[in-house]
């Protein structure tokens, strides 16, 4: 009943296609009655939605938020930034002015690196899902996976199986993330794959979470490792998974 091209036609109508794909979509639209109906509905809905109220934040709320941020800032001022390692700030000058400058510099320096890393992780995750290279060592036994990493990776990632909690260990592989070797532990949760990346901590600042192409990433540092869990699983489930890994890692 539904035309196979309907999602593509929708993407065209939403202005999501590049020039070449847009031409194809236009050509299809000329000959497909169903997609023509879709286009008419699309335009109709747009007109309807133009009448939908846009709720702007009331002034009272704005004022409340400003006050809450002021209060938050006061407590902030007495706390050294969470991720700032002492060594990192050496040479950045001293006093609050130096700290502020260092914070801005750190932002500028690490922003592109993190973008590239996030893109790298998303790519590595997608590659693994395409079946190109998901697993080097297939095993649900962490006694097998763990020693495999010892011979194939610079780092020793956590490899506990969380089958009882719904996250089944399926194996591991060696991969590259942003130019350095990474160990990847692969889990399944229902139909979803979770790639757990681990690489040697080089004092780089990590985002807490990020997402690209619909894949969510949770980052954290533990012991001497940088870790990132990447998946399209429900965010709450991914957080639960990360907590399990953190706990198992602190037991090691």
């Amino acid at each position: 009943m539904t035309c196979d091209e309907s999602l593509k036609t929708q993407a065209y109508l939403d202005g999501e296609l590049d020039a070449a794909d847009a031409l194809n979509a236009e050509a299809h639209l000329e000959s497909c009655a169903e997609c023509q109906r879709l286009a008419a509905d699309h335009a109709g809905l747009k007109a309807v939605m133009a009448a939908a109220p846009y709720h702007r934040a009331p002034m009272a709320l704005r004022t409340k938020i400003t006050a809450a941020l002021d209060a938050e800032e006061k407590t902030d001022a007495n706390v050294i930034p969470l991720r700032a390692k002492p060594g990192f700030w050496l040479g950045a000058g001293s006093g609050a002015g130096g700290m502020a400058i260092a914070a801005v510099l750190a932002f500028l320096v690490f922003m592109p690196a993190n973008n590239a890393m996030v893109a790298d992780l998303a790519d590595a995750h997608v590659r693994s899902l395409m079946g190109e290279h998901l697993i080097d060592v297939a095993s649900s036994d962490h006694h097998t996976v763990k020693p495999w990493f010892a011979g194939h990776s610079d780092v020793s990632p956590p490899t506990e199986d969380f089958k009882a909690d719904g996250f089944t260990l399926v194996g591991g592989r060696a991969d590259y993330v942003h130019g350095s070797r990474a160990a990847v532990v692969v889990y399944r949760h229902g139909a979803h794959v979770i790639n757990l990346f681990a690489w040697a901590d080089r004092n780089a600042r990590l985002p807490d979470t990020s997402s690209q192409d619909g894949y969510r990433m949770v980052f954290w540092k533990q012991k001497d490792l940088d870790l990132a869990a990447v998946s399209d699983v429900d965010p709450a489930e991914l957080d639960r998974f990360v907590e399990l890994v953190k706990k198992s890692q602190s037991r090691e």
Binding site: A51, A52, I65, A100
Partner: protein, 172 residues
């Protein structure tokens, strides 16, 4: 004012309206939108150090969405969700131009009602696309779903909304 606060004021605060609009639509116009947005802005500010380089609006709206989700979870533990009241539908089933009729009413009451009957996963993608005019990629970032899912939810949501507005059948 700290550098962090200055950055937050410059990058995040301009999206306060978008945050509030999303919260209002997610809560179906509920008064809890204020609390959700305040909580979201505070959380955003606290994690602003960890925020790097991505577009601010999808990031902020994802936080709003999460705050809404956790507020909903808490509420569920206390009270059962109220049923949608769906009486006094003013659009006749055979109205040929429901769009025009909804516009004529001006206050968007029919549209409000139609949108509020949509399951949340469809309502949110439609709001993000039609009112915030976000790209599929950004919607995917806000909702934490792959782009393919965004596309199919948009298609399904639009069909459901049309059916709701025309009083027609749902299996379009």
């Amino acid at each position: 004012m700290s550098e962090k606060r200055r950055r937050f004021e410059a990058l995040a605060m301009p999206h306060l309206d978008a945050a509030y609009n999303l919260a209002r639509w997610l809560t179906r116009g509920g008064a809890e939108a204020d609390d959700i947005v305040q909580e979201a802005m505070l959380r955003a500010f606290r994690s602003f150090d960890g925020f790097r380089g991505e577009a601010v609006r999808p990031w902020l709206l994802a936080i709003v969405r999460n705050c809404h989700r956790s507020a909903l979870e808490q509420k569920k533990r206390h009270v059962a969700a109220p049923l949608d009241d769906r009486d006094d539908t003013e659009i006749a089933a055979d109205d040929p131009t429901p769009e025009a009729s909804a516009i004529r009413h001006g206050d968007g009451r029919e549209l409000n009602k139609a949108l509020s009957t949509l399951p949340e996963e469809f309502r949110e993608v439609i709001i993000l696309r039609e009112l915030e005019e976000m790209s599929y990629r950004d919607i995917a970032a806000v909702t934490g779903t792959p782009i393919g899912t965004v596309m199919s939810r948009l298609a399904r949501g639009r069909a459901l909304l049309k059916a709701e507005l025309t009083g027609g059948s749902h299996d379009v």
